[in-house]
């Protein structure tokens, strides 16, 4: 029915929007979901090809998505086109904003590493005096994490130290490979824990909103979804001052439309949700909206080779992956940096990349043959400190394809992050040498901010409306019927892949919202 008043408008269809839709509709609440992009139908949009059939032989087409280092010619069309939805930054401090506007958003493509935050992150300020504590602790989140882990079918072992809380896992009891055992033996005397990797298995290899969350919502008959709906502004009731829907433009036809709802839930992804709030002039009585943008440092690490696994002796020696949770600044204090980093560790039975050899031609080919199946990798996932000055604001000098003002991203890493990356590589080298591995290549420089695709903050939660945008239920301090359920609510990020936390927060916020609606408080 046209111009119908929905109970809840959900903007965004990724993990956070999908979870909100599932929880709310299962409680009988009628939801309207808007997504800025089309539905991806693999039977229509995807086919298997060889790079030799493509015009650019697999290289990313020049100029298409310059800031998506993860892209190549095969997947270039899934990312948001930087021409279509631009953003700006100081050229001296680039930002890699990696976006997907397909239905399901980035939940279609994430790496599925699944970790809980611990109180070392949620109450980090109490631990080391830096920054601000979250208004909630790990005990508040634990029951939601457990349910999310069940839905996403997370594998792992119950081997985490306090900084890596255990969860509701499908237990991984596979033995460590001998190369991993050597690594563990090198790490243990240094007090460095090595745990089984934790990863969402989902269903059929996909752990996305489109297969794990949205089908449940659709089953209720309470969800209506619109694709290609690019939201321009959230609208406000003139009498009450409360949000009451939104104006959107059809991505393809440019037709201007509007919808109405009693409650607005933003789930467009950290920076798009904040951009929408800024463009709508909402939820910013604190002046904090847009600030405290953080992510995680990626890109630093090292590639090693296990000598005994070379020349065809890989089998039985190599294989498996591990997570080394943060070990700095837990029991001791580093004088080089606050907080800490994790290492992703993998023992590979595949090819070793040619970049690891200063050789070419037949000489290189001999090395590739000899080293095949002996690669051992360590890469960093490091915490970026929350800083007020790392922020986004609207850049009114530029608009996107639909005339919506774009974001200016102003963020940079500091010595805390650079020192952390250096420490990770030095520590990795020490471990490799102790384990008897040869270090082939290393890099201690992080990729540009944004690269991890873990942007968080900019609408942080807190108990004080003067210093935070949302309360502990992801609800705007300023507008009781406005919620932001994606990564924008984070106060700090830790080193952990944020997906499990985003999902748990969205589940928790949605149940709170449903309760408030049933009590007619909203």
């Amino acid at each position: 029915m046209k111009n119908e008043m929905y109970d809840v408008l959900i903007i965004g269809s990724g993990h956070s929007g999908g979870m909100a839709a599932k929880i709310l509709t299962e409680k009988g609440i009628r939801c309207l979901m808007l997504n800025a992009g089309p539905v991806a139908d693999v039977s229509r949009d995807v086919e298997r090809k060889r790079a030799s059939e493509l015009p650019y032989r697999g290289f990313r087409p020049p100029g298409q998505v310059d800031h998506v280092f993860q892209s190549n010619e095969f997947n270039a069309n899934v990312w948001v086109d930087e021409q279509e939805v631009p953003y700006t930054f100081d050229p001296a401090h680039p930002y890699n904003w990696v976006r997907v506007r397909l239905f399901g958003g980035r939940s279609l493509f994430w790496s599925r590493q699944s970790f809980r935050l611990s109180d070392y992150e949620l109450k980090g300020a109490s631990h080391d005096g830096y920054g601000t504590d979250w208004p909630i602790g790990s005990a508040d989140l634990a029951p939601y994490y457990s349910r999310v882990e069940g839905i996403f079918r997370v594998t792992g072992a119950l081997d985490g130290p306090p900084q890596l809380p255990n969860g509701n896992f499908i237990l991984d009891d596979a033995p460590w490979s001998p190369s991993m055992q050597r690594f563990i033996a090198a790490a243990k005397p240094r007090g460095i824990p090595v745990c089984k990797q934790r990863r969402a298995m989902g269903q059929n290899g996909l752990a996305s909103s489109v297969n794990l969350l949205l089908p449940d919502a659709e089953k209720t008959g309470k969800l209506t979804s619109i694709a290609n709906a690019v939201v321009r502004t959230i609208t406000v009731d003139k009498n009450t001052g409360l949000p009451n829907g939104c104006n959107f433009v059809d991505r393809l036809t440019r037709r201007e439309m509007s919808v109405r709802a009693r409650v607005v839930v933003l789930a467009a992804g950290t920076l798009e949700s904040t951009r929408l709030l800024l463009n709508s002039g909402l939820a910013n009585s604190s002046g904090v909206l847009g600030h405290y943008l953080t992510d995680q440092i990626y890109g630093a690490g090292l590639v090693c080779s296990v000598p005994e696994a070379r020349n065809g002796r890989s089998k039985g020696l190599m294989g498996g992956s591990a997570i080394v949770p943060r070990f700095r600044n837990i029991a001791t204090r580093s004088d080089k940096f606050l907080r800490g980093y994790a290492l992703n560790v993998s023992s590979s039975t595949g090819d070793v990349d040619l970049r690891n050899f200063a050789a070419y031609g037949a000489d290189l080919q001999r090395k590739l043959e000899a080293y095949q199946g002996s690669g051992f990798h360590m890469t960093i996932m490091g915490e970026v400190l929350g800083r007020y000055e790392n922020h986004v604001h609207i850049d009114n000098s530029m608009a996107d394809t639909w005339g919506i003002p774009v974001l200016h991203v102003q963020t940079r890493y500091t010595d805390n992050e650079f020192n952390m990356a250096k420490d990770a590589v030095e520590t990795g080298k020490e471990l490799a040498h102790t384990a008897g591995f040869e270090v082939l290549s290393s890099n201690d420089q992080p990729n540009p901010p944004g690269y991890s695709i873990h942007e968080i903050g900019t609408a942080r939660m807190g108990d004080d409306p003067k210093t935070s945008v949302l309360n502990k239920w992801n609800q705007s301090h300023d507008h009781k019927n406005l919620f932001v359920v994606d990564g924008a609510s984070f106060v700090s990020g830790g080193w952990q892949n944020p997906t499990m936390t985003i999902l748990s927060l969205s589940m928790r916020a949605s149940e709170y919202l449903a309760g408030e609606m049933s009590k007619q408080n909203i």
């Binding site: 992009g37 991806a40 693999v42 949009d45 995807v46 298997r48 090809k49 060889r50 790079a51 030799s52 059939e53 493509l54 032989r57 697999g58 290289f59 990313r60 020049p62 100029g63 310059d66 190549n72 095969f74 270039a76 069309n77 899934v78 930087e82 021409q83 279509e84 930054f89 050229p91 001296a92 680039p94 290609n228 991505r251 393809l252 036809t253 440019r254 890109g299 690490g301 590639v303 040619l354 970049r355 050899f357 200063a358 070419y360 031609g361 080919q365 590739l368 043959e369 080293y371 530029m398 394809t401 639909w402 005339g403 650079f418 290549s441 290393s442 890099n443 420089q445 992080p446 990729n447």
Partner: protein, 237 residues
């Protein structure tokens, strides 16, 4: 404007077959009187013409590198990736011609790495061997190239002058060759790289209107990152 007319034309023809197919359903047993409109037979059973990649039969016309640069690049590609076993080398895979096209359409920063690097190689060859790089034997070329080989991790190529070009070009030459039709056509053994074979995503409901109208008028989008002495990978890809 042309593009919009094209879109309208496409929309127009897409409507026609449904109408005609509807007519056909009503008189299925009777052959239609000739001439049959071409649109009638376009359906999922219509045989598709078989085509080959242009590379398979056509020569590409060099358009970006100078003749001297192209000769240097061709020799460099042959030295870095010669034919090995059954596999074609970079030259047989037409990698220099591909790079002329690919680098020619890449960012100015990446173009500069190549043109500067190729000119430097030629100057080094003249200085050390008093011979154009294109005419150096493998040993002579090795004297110029080997001091600049480095190991590196993805997204972080060497930033040192000359080492940047040698290592970036080596990676590109290797990838372009492995992903060529000539490489793919020969059997792969051992640790030889395989031609990438992945899921290719077509443009999904592409926004032709935006592409032709709004965006064409906008100014350059995200500003390019300049070279920095530290921290960020300045490898403009």
């Amino acid at each position: 404007m042309q593009r919009r007319q094209f879109v309208h034309a496409v929309i127009g023809v897409s409507v026609v077959p449904k109408v005609l197919l509807g007519q056909k359903a009503g008189s299925a047993s009777l052959p239609l009187p000739a001439p049959v409109p071409w649109t009638l037979g376009l359906n999922p059973r219509t045989p598709l013409p078989h085509t080959v990649e242009a590379d398979a039969v056509a020569e590409s016309v060099p358009a970006f590198f100078s003749e001297r640069q192209m000769a240097t690049l061709t020799r460099l590609a042959d030295v870095l990736l010669p034919p090995l076993g059954d596999k074609p080398g970079a030259v047989l895979a037409q990698t220099p011609q591909f790079l002329d096209f690919f680098i020619g359409s890449s960012s100015a920063e990446r173009q500069d790495v190549y043109t500067g690097g190729l000119d430097w190689l030629e100057a080094e060859a003249q200085k050390r061997h008093k011979t154009p790089f294109a005419d150096l034997d493998n040993e002579q070329a090795g004297v110029v190239i080997k001091p600049w080989l480095r190991t590196w991790m993805s997204d972080h190529p060497p930033t040192e002058l000359h080492a940047d070009f040698i290592n970036i070009a080596h990676g590109d030459i290797r990838e372009a060759t492995v992903n060529s039709a000539a490489w793919n056509a020969t059997p792969t053994t051992g640790a030889q790289e395989r031609t990438q074979n992945e899921l290719y995503w077509s443009p999904i409901e592409p926004d032709l209107y935006g592409e032709s109208a709004a965006c064409a008028e906008g100014r350059a989008h995200v500003l390019a990152a300049p070279r920095l002495p530290q921290f960020m990978p300045e490898y403009k890809r």
